[in-house]
Symmetry: C2
Subunit: 415 residues, 2 copies
Amino acid sequence: MKAALLSVGTELLLGEITNTNVVYLSRELNTLGIDVMYHYTVGDNPARLAEMIEMAFKDCDLIITTGGLGPTQDDMTKEIACQVMGDEMVLQEDILEEIKRRMLAYKAYMTDNNIKQAEMPSRAVIFYNDAGTAPGFALDRTLADGKKQYIACMPGPPREMKRMFTRSVMPWLEGMAEGVLVYKELRMFGIGESELETALLPLIDGQTDPTIATYAKDSECSVRVASKRANRAEAEAAVEDMIRKVDELVGQFIYSHDDEDLVRVVSRKLMEQKLTIACAESCTGGMFAAALTDIAGISECFDRGIVTYSNEAKIQELGVKPETIETYGAVSEETALEMATGIRRVSGTDIGISVTGIAGPGGGTDEKPVGLVYIGLDYKGEVTCRKIDRRITDRGRNRRYSTLSMLDMLNRALG
Amino acid sequence: MKAALLSVGTELLLGEITNTNVVYLSRELNTLGIDVMYHYTVGDNPARLAEMIEMAFKDCDLIITTGGLGPTQDDMTKEIACQVMGDEMVLQEDILEEIKRRMLAYKAYMTDNNIKQAEMPSRAVIFYNDAGTAPGFALDRTLADGKKQYIACMPGPPREMKRMFTRSVMPWLEGMAEGVLVYKELRMFGIGESELETALLPLIDGQTDPTIATYAKDSECSVRVASKRANRAEAEAAVEDMIRKVDELVGQFIYSHDDEDLVRVVSRKLMEQKLTIACAESCTGGMFAAALTDIAGISECFDRGIVTYSNEAKIQELGVKPETIETYGAVSEETALEMATGIRRVSGTDIGISVTGIAGPGGGTDEKPVGLVYIGLDYKGEVTCRKIDRRITDRGRNRRYSTLSMLDMLNRALG
């Protein structure tokens, strides 16, 4: 099946918002085995929208639209889709009731615009919206040569769209296709995308089901393993079997088999194991503490973090010995370890973690280049150090990579 | 002039990357007075790319493409654009020399693919690429009815594209249009987008030149004022005049008249005024320190930051009195102020800034709801406190808003 994604909204053409819907839908459709051929964006203009739908149907069997389903005058995706697909609008009493119920709950008044939202093409498969008021729908038409074409229309706000897609559109797409699709996303750190692709080549090569797709994001990679079989049990077994093979090749880099963030994995382990932690940061300047404290409930585990940017702060706050900094430098294994044991002693936590490095762009030398970073870990008195020397010269990337490395080191220590 | 943006790259159709180029180009073109009618995305497929260019020209006079200019087999935007515009490819010796020079500098070998990069349509206006190896170019064609159509092709990586756009494509576009365009972007904090639009309505209403466009991003807003006049002096005067009017209406919220980030504005002032600073964070968990230390050279000013999540840490690290926490609570004006003076005393800096609040989603009460935040500032012994009570229930938004508020408060104190 060949698909086009059609985004509707003048705000996109004005550059007011970034289109993340097409990223999400492209991935999901590709996983479902549907080829995404085109992305189109058009403003809130009925004639151009109708023209674009017809144009997309020249090459594709399926169009997925997002946006233009709201209650205002501007919103006309529903009416245009209905017209192009040769259907007519009817008032759907049950949708009207649901909208009334919602408006009452929000203490808002019904307007004619809200009633417009309850009108739907008569042949539509309706997708309820449990995150907003605008329902979505799907319609089909049969061409003179017997070929069937489909359009599915969803609201534009990403949160509403994603919920509708996973709960309603995906099952609808699966229902059209034969078989059941199952997929899992593995997340990893410490391996680059090209290195990952090379490692998985024996699995990817000539493989049609399960399919394996790799994605890269900043310093992380992920692998999506998907299988479409006659029934769920078979598809699950095929995915699990492939994941075992992926594990054998690159298992040491995988931190989640369930598409969970590294910081979530680490926080969950800290909370489960009832461990307390404190951190001492230099080059990351608070990013590690900020990442960890983004997780609700982490206050049970996270006691404090100190950003010791100056040497005096390292000495005064963490008890790093002045001689250590003089002899080995602030960016050294020795300083990193004294920072880790220092923050653990000061805060009385189970774990102390530290980082010191040269973030760049300035401050590097031949001996200690930009990108040189040391991470110290004191886990209940057992100390270890990790050296990073990847010659990353971009300050931002360096700091993000160092933060992820701290989480990775911690994750491995937590087992 | 009506324009279409055409993004070329299979990675976009696979959902591997987010298309930020169209956001940037849409804004820039709209500012230039060029209407962006469509965004199109197509994979690395010559036939579909050619078809899409012809289709876009049905409605538009200008197509701007990004992507597909690299040295590999996949990259064919140049060849297809050349073919559609009725031109032929020729080897451009000066580009070849430039590529050779670059390859030598990177100690890389020339391949046939690199030579391909030096071939250009014979009639092309060439845009040099000073951030990468693939040059861009523009071509035109004249239709039978005398109408002129233009295509400008740029590389896909955003950094290369943006540099090429501002340095070469924008002047080329301005050269085609009559008059000179001047614009300025004002950035502000503390006002919502709808409030801003309402405030500026008397200026926006019926205004054709200068134009005024508002944008919102997370908790910040910006206003872009643009004027196109016969000459630069006239356009600049018109923009300055309008900015004075904007200043009169919403000047108290503006922190930059030159599109500078709030954290950059604050860091610049700290460095210029040679002030030292330390921070004590609770609910933001290190985000303020992380934001400030993202700026290269800030180590001159930033001494240390302490994330005091637990009450003990507040007492132990900052000298907050246990009675203060007992009597007023950890989230109170009193605690915020003791944190600010505490961190300033401990670190011996000119400025101490603190934050304590309820980030959510849990932990709120009727008296102290989620979103209640206090910021304390000790500026050379003069203390002030800001209370935020916006009932933001999203943890992430709350933390970002608090961090920006700290920067805003500091910015106002720095004058």
